[in-house]
């Protein structure tokens, strides 16, 4: 298998992330195409690539931020340099969330609910969830892909999943009422 072929194995993964990032099929195709053009160009220079999937996602995120994201940085975000500083920051939040979501039928959620909730998340949180939950990258890999300290990555994953759960709980409740 050529190196090009082995990079193309990840086309579905790149595309599904792209579609959640740019939220439209045409742009997602353009974005993925751009990623591969850049990657292939790099191959010509005979450089070593150790983790192909992470490397391609790094190009994806970089291209997305440069070409598609209007506000390059979301000012509300705090950077956590270390894992400890992140855990320090969630001390109080954990105490607050004692709502009983288990009474709500999260299992009854539709695919469209999940899609919509994901799309509504701020870019950085959505990125963190796509990379961790969907693609299974390690926190260290994600920190390298999005060029952020690991504490920040953990914070985005934590807050992103929290927000997602909150949205989905609301949808589930809504469906619950509709059924009654």
């Amino acid at each position: 298998m050529s190196q090009k072929d082995s990079l193309l194995i990840h086309i579905d993964a790149l595309y599904r992330s792209a579609i959640y990032l740019v939220k439209n099929e045409n742009n997602a195709e353009d974005l993925v195409q751009e990623v591969y053009l850049r990657a292939f160009k790099f191959l010509q220079e005979d450089k070593e690539i150790s983790n192909e999937k992470a490397w391609l996602f790094k190009i994806l995120i970089n291209t997305f931020i440069n070409q598609y994201r209007k506000d390059k940085r979301e000012p509300s975000l705090v950077d956590f340099d270390t894992i400890e500083s992140f855990y320090g920051s969630i001390e109080e939040e954990a105490m607050v969330s004692t709502t009983a979501e288990n009474e709500v039928g999260l299992d009854k959620l539709q695919d469209d609910d999940v899609k919509k909730a994901l799309e509504e998340l701020p870019d950085d949180f959505r990125m963190a969830i796509l990379l961790s939950t969907a693609e299974g990258f390690s926190y260290k890999e994600i920190s390298d892909i999005v060029k952020c300290p690991i504490g920040t990555v953990m914070s985005r994953i934590y807050r992103g999943r929290r927000m997602l759960k909150e949205k989905l709980t609301n949808y589930a409740k809504k469906h619950g009422y509709e059924r009654e």
Binding site: K4, L8, I11, D12, L14, Y15, R16, S17, I19, Y20, E25, E29, V32, Q33, Y36, L37, F40, Y87, I90, E91, A94, M95, S97, E101, N102, L106, D107, L109, D111, V114, K115, L118, I129, L130, S132, T133, A134, S138, Y139, M154, I157, Y158, R161, L164, K165, L168
Partner: protein
């Protein structure tokens, strides 16, 4: 640790990011705490659900095909030229990237309804085409004789090539038709940037065919007993230099600055 402390680590636990010690601690708590084990099941379910939903999306089948097609695009003529013709024949040192000089000889094809400097525009636009698109010359040759013969066969007319410095390498010629006008182009290679040289023969020597460039509207500079006329191309970035030599008019178009272009022309 109490339930709240444990729950802070839930996501890292699900993601397998905890060290052994912490992992054991969480597992031990989950064993004895019904509420937390309920909660983590819920998180796991959600995790699975999100993963499944995202991973349902597949790239359209044509995308891979399109990507490969766009990469396999025919390499630019000048890239090919550099790789094959020049390197193999060792016309230039391997390190020198060649520059292209295009000569357009227009005397027999410019139609009478064209304004005087339309010829300039046509030459420049063809110069752009050959550089930006993957256009191949009609004939590849390093011999003046075969290029003169080529134009003779195609048009029945003799095309006099201008006198160019020795380090400018002849590589081929083309006879594209643009807006109904045939523009004979002769390709040269030189330094690192493209140049087009456009030749307008003296209309007196070829009655009925010629057109003169209006040099009077260009800036005149005297150099080595030669009058050079300079201007900026229609694209705004090309430079144009015109001069008269052996009864013909010549126009050189390139991305080089005018000083460099003059050095190519004048024999120092």
């Amino acid at each position: 640790m109490n339930c709240n402390d444990i729950r802070k680590y839930f996501y890292a636990f699900i993601d397998n990011e905890l060290d052994v010690e912490k992992n054991i601690e969480i597992l031990a708590h989950l064993d004895m705490c019904y509420e937390c084990s309920q909660k983590i099941e819920e998180e796991r379910l959600l995790h699975k659900r999100v993963k499944e939903t995202v991973c349902m999306v597949k790239a359209p089948a044509y995308l891979e095909h399109n990507i490969l097609k766009s990469v396999a695009k025919k390499p630019n003529f000048f890239t090919l030229l550099k790789e094959n013709l020049l390197l193999k024949s060792r016309l230039l040192p391997l390190t020198a990237i060649a520059t292209v000089v295009i000569i357009a000889v227009s005397f027999f094809v410019i139609q009478s309804n064209l304004k005087k400097n339309d010829a300039l525009y046509l030459a420049e636009s063809e110069f752009h085409n050959y550089l930006k698109e993957n256009l191949d010359p009609d004939i590849r040759s390093q011999s003046v004789k075969s290029i003169v013969e080529y134009f003779q066969n195609q048009t029945g007319l003799s095309v006099p090539l201008p006198v160019i410095k020795e380090d400018v390498q002849l590589v081929g010629a083309a006879l594209p038709r643009i807006k109904g006008v045939q523009v004979p182009l002769i390709f040269y290679m030189h330094d690192e940037t493209p140049i087009a040289l456009f030749v307008v023969c003296n209309s007196d020597s070829l009655p009925g065919y010629g057109i003169n460039i209006d040099f009077s509207r260009m800036k005149g500079v005297s150099k080595d007993n030669m009058m050079l006329y300079t201007d900026t191309g229609y694209c705004g970035s090309c430079q144009i230099i015109g001069w008269k030599e052996a009864g013909n008019e010549y126009v050189m178009i390139s991305n080089l600055n005018s000083d460099k272009m003059m050095r190519i022309l004048t024999k120092v």
